[in-house]
Amino acid sequence: MANKPFAITLKPGTSLNNLTGSWRSERPVYLDRLPPCNNACPAGENIQGWLFHAESGDYEQAWRVLVQDNPLPAAMGRVCYHPCETACNRGQLDTSVGINSVERFLGDEAIKRGWKFDAPAATTGKKVLVVGAGPSGLSAAYHLARMGHQVEIQEAGPLAGGMMRFGIPKYRLPRDVLDAEVQRILDLGVTLKYDSKVANIQQSMKDGGFDAAFLAVGAHIGKRAMIPAGDASHIVDAVSVLRSMEGEDKPMLGRKVVVYGGGNTAIDVARSVKRMGGEPIIVYRRTRDKAPAHDFEIEEALQEGVMIKWLSTIKQAEVGEITVEKMELDEKGFPQPTGEFEKLEADSVVLALGQDVDLSLLEGVPGLEVKDGVVQVASNMMTGFAGIFAGGDMVPSERTVTVAVGHGKKAARHIDAWLRGESYEPAAKHEIAEYKNLNTWYYSDAHKTVRPMLDMIRRQTSFDEVQGGLDETNALFEARRCLSCGNCFECDNCYGVCPDNAVIKLGPGKGFEFKYDYCKGCGLCVEECPCGSIKMVPEDI
């Protein structure tokens, strides 16, 4: 530059000498916020995390991230009531992401491709007994096995799956799918003993030399209701009906079947009856919007020809008919009798009023607390007796497969810690990524992909799966609808919109860094971050 005119001609790029970072009173910082889907998932899945990989078409990696939390994606992708989708921020934009359908796609893909779980870590030498091969037990066994513990499942029945098999009809969960996912867990080295009902847990532990036990026996005893009935009246419980559907001998219920109750089990029974050629009528004491069953299941049942009598209670059951009383809702929304009666044809009555737990195996165990028919556990899933943990339907919680799977994972982590004489402290939850944290402008317009439904005739006459899956193209599409709430997905917006080039792009998978020497603190990166993974914080004074 010596030759160049003084002062009016300058060297290129020399403004780097001017550290404009000193202009700043607030600084942007990158952060991860907790996506609402993850937050809502009872199984604790890192949904946003596995969708991230699915978005780029790396389904195996997506599945691997998924199964870090849940070993049953194919089943979950069918039977989960997906609270994640309810929580999904995209629901406020157009329609929530079809997380459940992508999960099912990944689960099915894994079965199709024969993906296996990663081999367990080095063995710990500890033995854990899992009682019950339902979702909770399988989940716990899986996680414990991956942590290197020796796991044995003792299952009272002849088949694995628990309520997934004996409570959920085939048309919702084909059994080959369930079998495949169970087998993959067993392939990890988990021992599963069928027809091994644990009568006394302490004895069983002692006999087998187990260091800890996880109890997940489920709730398989159907609740009875006091219905005045003639001797010949045919009254059975829903659990039994559904269980018998699995065996060779289909239940004999007759043509006109009244199902009493308004939960998902009632719907499952009614739809199964329909498929067996019967004429199911659901009797429920309250209204549709008060029914505990999921509305989409009620809707599908109605579509298939299931009759439902709302605001009705069964007063009397006789041979071939029942008497129902009409109810009306009071001001508080509770059903009250009206004194109006009606007779309905009924070859049988199926009671779908909920299930109880068989707690006999716990007799004699000191320190246990049982309340409302379920075992009380501490926050670490441990019962009042050290080393015995419990989860699933036998502890106080919502009774869903997903909750059960979540219990299994949680219990496994605590058991693992307990076995090492430690306690497991889950990482503090990040703040939730709320809709207002997002800049949704940046997401392409795209409505949810609707999964195909089986045609009506086959729905009414067979146990074929009602809801189809997504194919690769639309699964990818659906995955890409994810807003990646609160978690950087490397859209480069911060890198691009900074007027001061104060963002360093570190390369694929490595994210970004701020060059605080130059960042003036304008906040554009925060405002224009689509997913809300940057925030402004005041500069230290």
Binding site: A7, I8, L10
Partner: protein
Amino acid sequence: MLKQIEGSKAVAEAIALCRPEVICAYPISPQTHIVEALGEMVKSEKLTPCEFINVESEFAAMSVAIGSSAAGARSYTATASQGLLFMVEAVYNAAGLGLPIVMTVANRAIGAPINIWNDHSDSLSQRDSGWMQLFAETNQEAVDLHIQAFKLAEELSMPIMVCMDGFILTHAFERVDIPTQEQVDGYLPTFDPRQSLDPKEPISIGAMVGPEAFMEVKYLAHAKQMQALELIPQLAAEFKQQFGRESGGLVRTYRAEDAETMIVAMGSVLGTVKDTVDEMREQGHKIGVLGIISYRPFPLQEVRAALVNCKRFVVLEKSLAVGMGGIVATDVRMAVSGTGLKGFTAIAGLGGRNITKASLHKLFLEAEQEKLEPVTFVDLDWEVVNKQLEREKQNRHSGPIAENILYDKGMSTSAKFG
């Protein structure tokens, strides 16, 4: 090669011999013939490679030249009068950026009243712009100065105006020796810009400079013009060597040996002055001439040296610092300050008013007798002026002075030729 040729045409040929790479121009009398001729040469590919750009204003003309010069192309434009004023902002800018642009100014008066004829008001208004200004006495000198100008501008990386009297020179057909291409090539090297816009070596030209360095930048521009004071005579000497002709330099004297009265002037009027002086010398008057070629930089020392031995001098100038008097005279007086010399300022030829030998005789005689006012307006029609002044005294609101004067004179301009 000797040619009987119009001044503008001769200058155009000289410019072409200097191999300009970008020429941009906007037409204004009396500059038009120069750029017309150049335009034709480029269009017919007699001058190549060269871009000729017809711009939409003088401001654009200078701006285009700034761009092309900054990008390393030898750049030329020409203008006059209002055109020069219209480009003033860019004129200063070109100098500030140190771009060696050569511009012909076909000197012309500045309106209002609009006037297309010759005086020096236009380029003199740019005396502080940072441009060098050389004044041609003849068309031969105009040709020669342009060739020297490119060399001077490029050596210093500063722009330069070659000033030639509008119409009087630009439109005069006279004998001019047009050099050959070989001669010019032997004198003027190819343009090696001090800096240029080039992706290979990016620089930022035209920074904002604050109080901390602005004075230094301005001083450096001044220092360059001081360097030019040494360079100009040197280039003139080299020119003589190459072309065998005296041309250029800072100043030139004529019959000054024992002169008691010196006439100082710039441009073509020097010819008429010399003829007048010859006649007076024949009559025994001790009178001589100092012609200033380099107006910027102003050769204070040379002017002082040329005048220091006379008794009195008259600065005959075609410009007026309204409210003050002479423009060139001010500089000349600065040059002789402290000598006690008697100096007179004669304003003449404004707006193309003829400067005749007869008027000069009268003026010089009066000067010799030191009867002149400090500032004299040569051939001013006092009758008209006094009438108007009288009228204004009585009627104070303003009116169109020019119209009144023409009315008083009872004529139209086209009726008068002598």
